[in-house]
Symmetry: C2
Subunit: 470 residues, 2 copies
Amino acid sequence: MPKQLHVNLFEMNCVSHIIHGLWVHPDNNRHRFNDIEYWIELAKLLEAGTFDGVFIADVIGTYDQFRQGPETAIREGMQIPSNDPLLIIPAMASVTKNLGFGVTFSTSYEPPFAFARRMSTLDHLTKGRVAWNIVTSYLPNAARNFGLDDEIPHDQRYQLADEYLDVLYKLWEGSWDDDAVQVDRKNRIYADPAKVRYINHVSNNYKVAGPHLCEPSRQRTPLLFQATGSSAGIEFAGRHAEAIFTGGSSAEEVQRNINGIREKAKAHGRDPAGIKFFVGASVIVAPTNEEVEEKLKTFHELHSVDAALVHLQSSVDLTLYPRETKLKEIIPENDQSWGLRWADSEETVGGLLDKFRFRQDRFFVAGTPTHVADTIEKWLDEDGIDGINLIQYLSYGTAKDFIELVVPELRRRGRFREKYADGETLRERFFGQGHARLPDDHYAARYRNPENLHAASEPLPLAQSREVKV
Amino acid sequence: MPKQLHVNLFEMNCVSHIIHGLWVHPDNNRHRFNDIEYWIELAKLLEAGTFDGVFIADVIGTYDQFRQGPETAIREGMQIPSNDPLLIIPAMASVTKNLGFGVTFSTSYEPPFAFARRMSTLDHLTKGRVAWNIVTSYLPNAARNFGLDDEIPHDQRYQLADEYLDVLYKLWEGSWDDDAVQVDRKNRIYADPAKVRYINHVSNNYKVAGPHLCEPSRQRTPLLFQATGSSAGIEFAGRHAEAIFTGGSSAEEVQRNINGIREKAKAHGRDPAGIKFFVGASVIVAPTNEEVEEKLKTFHELHSVDAALVHLQSSVDLTLYPRETKLKEIIPENDQSWGLRWADSEETVGGLLDKFRFRQDRFFVAGTPTHVADTIEKWLDEDGIDGINLIQYLSYGTAKDFIELVVPELRRRGRFREKYADGETLRERFFGQGHARLPDDHYAARYRNPENLHAASEPLPLAQSREVKV
């Protein structure tokens, strides 16, 4: 059987998430993000299309580095305003039975006890359909919203995150036994106190007594997503992640990235097949090439260069330079702009802007359903990915096009599910029936043994890490 | 026109909230609290009954003082397990148009920036139907779940809360102007940057830059609820609260409590009518007195004394003493048990337990619809309250009985709405059309003037406060 594609819709609880300027398109619904109806309609659409899930990005600060202020971000709706991502999940869960929900949350600023409870609550309310995208936050303004003067340095954020997950695992996996809850009316025992325990976690940055306030949910630990871009991130992923966002400019580079992480997982004693790989993908599809061209033209016209530069946290206002200017002439060496650090200094201003306009990387495809399906099959078989986060140009146009045009073609080729396996958890959708919980070879599994709850933690060796280009 | 009653259903995202032991009743649905369907059914029921709202209590720790451990709480399902209260609101909002949602959140342990965003998100998703019950947390275990060794002392918690609200008001009321959001497609302006600003709050305990991540919601600041039981609490309520839980053992005592707070509001420059008063009320109703007696008998039999003592954080295991024992013989002077501090030392063990079994205080009524309505009218007219939080004996039995038997009788007397005013916010339901926002005489209103955003805060004079009996 050929490998089937996993598909999440890439979302954010805001106006302009990743393709910028297109909120002005008359068919776009992005300005409706404050309305519960937007999310309810979206969830129904995606479940009708048997998507794996909706994947919700997040930031907890404003992009205020481009042009030395937040003005451009605010004008463009570029991730501000943006609402809390967890709170739209129960609304979407109320109208679906199978759609999964990936949600981004940062380990850097909020107490683990409260977050553990929120994710357990979501796992209960969705009956095991939630994933967590582990991030550590990179916006300086986010740090300033949470009492700090500036960002926590990159590798220190990962050390904090590693400690944070230790707390969460103890609460999720170790505080309640599987058979703790008895609902025994006759003997008036809701839960057996002998099977519920304090965690009494103490580490450098966290001190958490427990017990966990929630009884075990179907997945206990939500499915763990992560994006990697640094050696610290890869080390972290090797221990923790079950699904990873990766990328690359060629099949070989993608394979190399995937293999590197699988090796790291092996070094952590895990089955390297225990990780699925995702890429952010742009799919612009229409029945004919003429219609595809028409769409591209419209998107091109409406795209906002300003918002893209805000998103890149560009230290340089590239709009002030002629298109043929080489980046190396205007971007200082060791520039710290988040999106420019990885730009090829031989590239021109125009080249870079075009690339971001269309996100024309390896995982961009525009064409007829046949062409799109051919390309996706290559991604699956040559690059070795397992799934995509579908980047939205129009909400809900992008998802509708994919469901109406690409899904049928992928199904004909045996590349996409015909229907959901009713009642499965999100982890089972990724790893098969019977795999609702983290596997036994995962680091967190140690805490299922109460004796290990109070053992000293084993911090990841992250101190020597260096940031690398993905 | 006679004063109409406001009614919230008193809820908690757990098995045993306030009437204990009754989860074993075959008609009780409390064990279903993990299921989204429980909350969806409940919300539909309450909206059909034109309730003001559902009011969700919360704790963020385990009651582990009775019998020196958490065992009894766990066995009884006494507020553990308990899930996050915010996350059930979007599920209930998805199936209602008018029901309000009061939610409890503590100012003591989580960063204000994230909470401000969560409440704004809820206010957007519900279109202005949320209230916040401001609490400061009293469980020692809660403190230990959030990195502390023990509770923050009572008055210090209120000082922290006062500072916390300063941050929230700046984010909710001051960071975005009313006309900041333009959704101007032609000029490609989502929001006008000149009308959005940093708050740059700096105080003893909080440092928050902003801008608020959410655009203004219908109410901006959610309707502010609070319970009072101390002079610090009353000082705090005088400045902040718009709806207050009060109580008393006689009409005179309730009036005195209400007037005391209205005086305090006046001292803070507010219209004393700007506060509504609520009590937790038990209503056991049936068409005939025989059926009422039958219900009382069943509830009596199923009630759990153990769980009630856990809830009281009783330092003494009263179940070990004969019913006729006087409390003063066994409870040490200056006992710090939360629920025993206010017990009359001349009372007997049996008397106290019976009182808690039925919550037989002034706001307990059992009888036919006519008797119940007569009693409620007294509460409204003699005590001067505005509404009740209806305490559940059976979920959904208590709410169903009230809707089927009491609501029609109250309506006949002009004491309860016939229908909702569609599209009103929760604050408008309490204070009339056009009052979606906090009134101009409220402390928070100062932050609508950007010049006041960076002025030094004015902490409440709480240092001299002493705890008093309600």
